[in-house]
């Protein structure tokens, strides 16, 4: 049963979701009153979902860009052709980088899948949205950028890997919600049963990237703004490169001859290197480390093929010029650097994200590279800005539209790194700050703080904390860290 306005306890930790529901209902009701119900009713019928979009006029939407946000999984920022990787084939990402701009200093604020995904959706740090690790449920308390876009009249679809713990939310503001809960929400590379608007349906295409891309293309086809006035926003969330790595038959094995030793650190051996530090046993269970890395690259190439497909589709439909495409990863990935395998340590390989924006007409230097510091929490305010929708003031991220336009536009000089221990990974909870030059991290237990001078030591080989623990530099960084809530 729907709550009345005064039934909401506004003294609760104030959920923006609640505010949106209440104001949406109130605005919808008000508009119904003004329009006598008739016009609003028919408009709602056309729009398909609730009263939320009743006040978005068709003319106001004219000329708004379509938005296609593509998310990869555990994608190391260097593992793209356009980033200089020696053998991986990523023509789709390369095309995006050639026609758009690539941000070379993009980061996540919490280096773990679920918190990062929640940050992307909400524009908030993890301590704000509450998804602290992959065991902490999505609370449905905070609104997402997709909800704001939907209210502004956009046709919205979330397609692919949701991967946040807890009960799958309904997200009624979406026109299409396609996801899966199979295996902790990780899905499988082949034949994953899909949930389409809450109903389970068998997979239609065997391979997961093809499956979700087809849904995205169908959605765009049905919501082609050339046929109407509503622009679309599609959030296409892929599974590659999450283990266990399985590529489709025609891609599997394509890197068998690739020289993996050229890419991985020299202390990594192909046969016994394992996932957990000091555990060589898992290596043999999972297969040779070199083969795992090849498999990882193959899955990324498989995903890229479907990026090519959707870009080609946009071309064929004449939508490319008015569709902004962003590709990003949820985390980076360490492949043996610092004797670590995984995504959770606060090293650069884990926290750096691939981040490419193609924004026709907006980017004056296609193929350019950006040095500004951008974050996963910037996605929400940026997409809202691109759509001309005002971002809620309490989002932690900032719009990077000025940086997309101009390589000299200012973004930020530092950000908060935070992580909550996640069983069974052996990384303690930590909190730190990453500035243009330094990275300072304090751990909850088990480790002394880290201090790296990223200018002099970009590979983070020397922890300066022991020699500088009384220095002004440390005090300054500690002060900055304290400045974050």
């Amino acid at each position: 049963m729907k709550k009345k306005f005064n039934e909401y306890n506004l003294s609760d930790p104030m959920s923006r979701r609640t505010i949106l529901k209440v104001t949406g209902a109130a605005l919808g009701a008000g508009l119904s009153g003004v329009a006598g119900g008739g016009i609003t009713g028919s408009l709602l019928d056309v729009l398909g979902t609730g009263s939320a979009r009743a006040f978005a006029s068709a003319s106001a939407l004219k000329g708004k860009p379509n938005l296609l946000f593509i998310l990869g999984d555990n994608h190391n920022a260097q593992t793209m052709g356009c980033a200089g990787h020696p053998f991986i084939k990523t023509p789709g990402m390369d095309r995006l980088a050639r026609e758009g701009v690539m941000f070379e200093r993009s980061f996540n604020t919490t280096s773990l899948c679920s918190p990062s995904r929640a940050s992307i959706l909400t524009g908030m740090y993890a301590h704000r949205h509450g998804v602290l690790n992959n065991h902490t449920p999505w609370t449905d308390r905070e609104s997402t950028f997709m909800e704001h876009l939907s209210r502004a009249g956009y046709a919205t679809a979330f397609i692919g890997k949701w991967h946040m713990p807890g009960k799958l939310p309904e997200l009624p503001f979406l026109d299409l919600f396609v996801t899966y809960t199979y295996r902790e929400g990780q899905g499988a590379y082949f034949n994953t049963p899909m949930l389409v608007n809450g109903k389970e349906v068998p997979s239609r295409k065997p391979y997961i990237t093809e499956e979700v891309t087809d849904y995205a293309i169908e959605f765009i086809e049905k919501n082609n703004p050339k046929d109407g006035d509503r622009p679309f926003c599609v959030y296409l969330s892929h599974r590659p490169g999450h283990p266990p790595f399985q590529a489709p038959a025609d891609i599997s094995g394509m890197y068998d001859e690739a020289d993996v030793a050229e890419v991985l650190p020299p202390q990594v051996d192909p046969l016994w290197y394992g996932k957990t530090n000091q555990n060589v046993f898992q290596g043999v269970m999972m297969g040779s480390y070199y083969d795992q890395y090849r498999g990882y690259c193959e899955t990324l190439t498989a995903m890229d093929r479907d990026i090519v497909n959707i870009l080609d589709y946009l071309d064929r439909k004449g939508l490319s010029d008015n569709t902004i495409v962003i590709y990003m990863g949820d985390n980076g990935m360490q492949w043996g650097t610092h004797d670590c395998h995984g995504i959770r340590e606060p090293y650069e390989d884990s926290i750096r994200l691939p981040f490419i924006v193609r924004a026709p007409g907006m980017v004056k230097d296609p193929g350019g590279k950006r040095k500004q510091m951008v974050l996963n929490i910037d996605i929400a305010p940026t997409l809202l800005d691109l759509a001309g929708v005002r971002a809620p003031a309490d989002m932690d991220g900032m719009s990077i539209v000025p940086a997309i336009r101009n390589g000299r536009a200012k973004t930020r000089n530092d950000f908060l790194l935070e992580f909550w221990r996640y069983y069974p990974e052996n990384t303690p909870s930590y909190r730190g700050i990453r500035t243009d030059r330094y990275k300072y991290v304090e751990f909850e237990r088990g480790r002394d703080p880290w201090l790296f001078d990223l200018k002099k030591d970009p590979k983070e080989m020397v922890n300066l904390y022991p020699e500088k623990n009384e220095s002004d530099l440390i005090k300054m960084l500690q002060q900055k860290l304290k400045g974050y809530p």
Binding site: L132, T136, E184, Q282, V284, P424
Partner: protein, 187 residues
């Protein structure tokens, strides 16, 4: 035949496997300090293999040797578990860096460890059959072969099924569900 001492029938079979594991472990992780690429790769491959063999296949030797030296079935099983248990405990201790002690204990029942224990059961069954044959040749009293055959067959079936069921991923999901049941999100 006089009964062997505890040292002889229990400790002596364990020592070579434990030593092999220690040498393998030390050599493998020490190899990361070797700057010479090829030398590092060779040392890592050899010592990594030794380490893995000691943990995964050590039971074959320990069980056989202790049985041949007159250990009881219980003693042989216990002796077989010593090196793998130390390895499991090391893994549990690694987690202490980030998780409370009680949560670390839960790692003992991780799918990887369960897999290892089932594999060890298969090895013990196979070793029993081998020991039985040897003892019969010597004219000594040997137990029946039904139980070892059942253990080997049953163990193999479980082992293969565990892998076949989502390459172990589904088991891992159950393990994580168990974690959340006991400890919530842990934070």
């Amino acid at each position: 035949m006089p009964k062997n001492t505890f040292m002889n029938r229990f400790v002596m079979p364990v020592v070579p496997v434990l030593l092999l594991a220690i040498i393998g472990y030390t050599g493998y992780f020490g190899s990361r300090e070797i700057d010479h690429y090829t030398l590092h790769q060779v040392v890592a491959a050899v010592t990594g293999t030794l380490y893995f063999v000691a943990i995964a296949f050590g039971t074959l030797y320990v069980f056989t040797s202790s049985q041949m030296r007159g250990a009881t079935l219980g003693e042989s099983i216990l002796a077989s578990f010593i090196t793998p248990f130390i390895w499991m405990t090391k893994e549990v201790l690694v987690l202490l860096e980030s998780h409370p002690f009680i949560e670390c204990l839960y790692w003992y029942v991780s799918p990887l460890h369960i897999w290892l224990v089932i594999f060890m059961a298969i090895e013990m069954g196979a070793a029993s059959l081998f020991v039985r044959k040897k003892k019969m040749k010597r004219g000594e009293e040997a137990g029946g072969k039904m139980m070892p055959i059942l253990v080997v067959t049953g163990g193999l079936v479980i082992f293969v099924l565990m892998y076949a069921w989502g390459k172990g991923e589904n088991l891992y999901v159950i393990f994580l569900e168990g974690y959340r049941l006991f400890f919530g999100s842990g934070v």
